[in-house]
């Protein structure tokens, strides 16, 4: 295999490396630019006025940013925990039990992955408006959209991702292991707790980090599901851009980028850590 790579002729080779260089430039130049100007001491985005940490300080002091950050974190934590539990349970049910309609559930589970964000967002908006209306009129309440509707919408799309990741892990693990545990006096719960769960844990953690990242990054669906007081950080940044850009956006974006990269790295590590064969 490696021989084939080495034997590429000179012209092809330099063309390929040029292409690679361009692709990487295209990917990373904007990121570098963003990071660079987030340290610029100038009120205009994209003009260098000397080094400063002022924008990061402003990020720390700005109440709106702070409240958006706290909403983001709360929504992300709630939706991650709930979707990890439900997604893992769905994966177990679909992978380990045969029941009527198994195949249909299987297909339906992938739907949120395929449905465009905007469609999903409109569906959520319609659903929440309609169901809040029903609840309010029948119980005489005055509920509105808020953090819980945002969390619910995030749970709705995260479950799919979690269960897809967990299922991949389960599929590589023979059911005989669970049978062996039961043969050795473990109840169904003990077999799950001592054998299945530890073996699918990398998948569960990976799925959880994926859910966390998706929740922290989402704009479109959140915008439709959010109500007053439930603006998340990405949605806030979006709003900020519309009102006119300030270098504060750069700082906020860099922080979000750093958090996302960290989460992705953690998820890769989790997949690696116990990545040994499970068959």
């Amino acid at each position: 295999m490696s021989g084939g790579v080495r034997q590429l002729r000179g012209g092809t080779r330099s063309a390929l490396s040029l292409n690679a260089a361009l692709v990487y430039l295209f990917f990373y130049a904007p990121i570098l630019l963003l990071i660079f100007y987030s340290f610029s001491d100038d009120d205009l985005v994209g003009r260098w006025g000397g080094f400063t940490l002022d924008w990061y300080r402003a990020f720390g002091r700005n109440d709106e940013v702070q409240s958006a950050l706290s909403v983001s974190i709360r929504v992300a934590l709630i939706s991650t925990v709930v979707s990890v539990v439900l997604g893992t349970m769905a994966a177990l049910a679909l992978e380990r039990y045969r029941f009527r309609g198994n195949r249909i559930f299987d297909a339906l589970l992938y739907l949120p992955v395929i449905v465009p964000d905007v469609t999903m967002a409109v569906m959520m908006l319609l659903f929440f408006t309609w169901s809040i209306d029903v609840v309010n009129t029948s119980f005489g309440l005055s509920l509105g959209k808020g953090i819980s509707t945002v969390a619910l919408s995030h749970i709705a799309f995260s479950i799919s991702f979690v269960s897809i990741v967990v299922r991949a892990r389960l599929a590589g693990m023979t059911q005989t292991l669970e049978e062996a545990a039961q043969d050795l006096y473990a109840s169904q719960w003990q077999a799950f707790r001592h054998v299945t769960l530890p073996l699918i844990m990398p998948g569960v953690i990976g799925g959880g980090l994926l859910a966390l990242t998706l929740s922290l990054d989402d704009v479109v669906i959140t915008q439709f599901a959010a109500g007053p007081g439930s603006t998340t950080l990405p949605v806030y940044v979006f709003g900020l851009i519309r009102r006119g850009v300030s270098p504060l956006i750069n700082a906020v974006s860099v922080v979000m980028l750093a958090a996302s990269v960290l989460l992705v790295l953690l998820s890769l590590l989790a997949q690696r850590a116990r990545g040994g064969s499970v068959t």
Partner: protein, 355 residues
């Protein structure tokens, strides 16, 4: 004495597949019992029903007198050595072996001591800290064995435990398993599709085919007195000659030849006569001793295969080819292809089997 395992009229259906078909079976306490049969005949399914990993569609299973029909596996006094060992990959050898004791809430130090003793018994002392992936196939096999035996099951179920080992290791493990079983006095139910393995190890063998139990008996009985064509053919090498029963001491071959052969079947039944190659004597045409005149046939040598310790002849007798095994010793006469010969056998070495 109550049987260790008693299976009565057990049938198992998977949708439209009948995996096990009204099986009756008793396995005695302390017995080394083999379930033998070709692939897909229902051996594993039978074993899994004893373990509780599968429930019978019909019938009853008792373990030492107690009905276990739908009891879950963790409530049964049996343990299983799985076909591919099914060791827990995330646990050390010690944790694997002590798993059953820990689930039964045996005191921690006791569980550890017992497990270490069992690990020593299967000659894995010093490896208790390793993960299964750091062991050879044979060593993993021993861990699986120790993990089951440490719980002192009343019956140990083994599903082709030696299937994944190479020939030499396999033979070593056969001897080891056998002596371990004698030492512990526990009933072993051993699934295999290797008839030599079943012969070498078992007190009794049950031959299965298409979900049905065809014959149960000691290795000698199964080999020398098969009750039907499938068993005769499956166990060892044999010549099967089609015939019809004439009376209780004679059969007629399809070409009209009348031979003496006692059979328990009704006159007119179509049967097959099973003749083991090593039970047939061969000599020059006309040299048949008088007492064998009614148990002999005439033919010509079609081919000769020299095996070192023996010589295999294929003898053409009109419409059939008979495999005959002759001695290769200096005393024994040797024949060439084309030689006119007679073959004969003792009245007690033929065996008439039903179709």
């Amino acid at each position: 004495m109550t049987a260790a395992v008693e299976i009565r009229g057990v049938t198992k259906r998977f949708d439209d597949v009948v995996a096990v078909d009204s099986v009756d079976l008793e396995i005695a306490d302390g017995e080394f019992f083999a379930l033998l049969g070709p692939s897909g005949c229902g051996k594993t399914t039978t074993l899994r029903m004893i373990a509780g990993l599968e429930f019978p569609t019909e019938g009853s299973i008792r373990i030492f007198g107690e009905e276990v029909g739908t009891l879950p596996p963790n409530k049964r006094p049996v343990n299983t050595v799985f076909q591919n060992y099914a060791l827990f990959p995330h646990m050390s050898v010690l944790d694997n072996v002590s798993f059953g004791l820990r689930m039964k809430k045996v005191d921690k130090t006791d569980a550890r001591a017992k497990s270490m003793k069992m690990i020593d018994l299967v000659q894995l002392g010093g490896m208790e800290g390793r993960k299964p992936s750091q062991l050879s196939g044979g060593q993993q096999q021993r861990v699986a064995l120790a993990r089951a035996l440490v719980n002192e099951p009343k019956v140990l179920l083994l599903d082709e435990p030696l299937g994944a080992l190479d020939l030499k290791l396999r033979q070593e493990m056969q001897t080891e398993l056998k002596s371990l079983q004698r030492e512990l006095g526990v009933s072993f139910v051993f699934v295999t599709h290797d008839q030599e393995e079943a012969m070498a190890m078992s007190d009794r063998i049950a031959v299965m085919h298409d979900g049905q139990l065809l014959q149960v008996g000691s290795p000698e009985e199964i080999y020398e007195r098969p009750t039907n064509r499938f068993v005769a053919d499956f166990i060892g090498q044999t010549n099967l000659i089609d015939a019809t029963v004439e009376d209780d001491d004679h059969i007629i071959l399809t070409n009209g030849t009348r031979l003496r052969a006692p059979s328990p079947h009704e006159p007119g039944t179509s049967v097959a006569m099973s003749l083991r190659p090593e039970a047939i004597s061969i000599g020059p045409r006309g040299s048949v001793p008088d007492e064998h005149s009614a148990t002999s046939l005439e033919g010509a040598v079609a081919s000769v295969t020299y095996l070192g310790h023996a010589v295999d002849y294929s003898v053409k007798i009109g419409w059939i080819d008979l495999e005959v095994r002759g001695g290769a010793t200096a005393g024994g006469q040797r024949f060439e292809a084309g030689d006119e010969v007679s073959v004969w056998w003792d009245r007690t070495s033929d065996w008439v089997v039903a179709d």
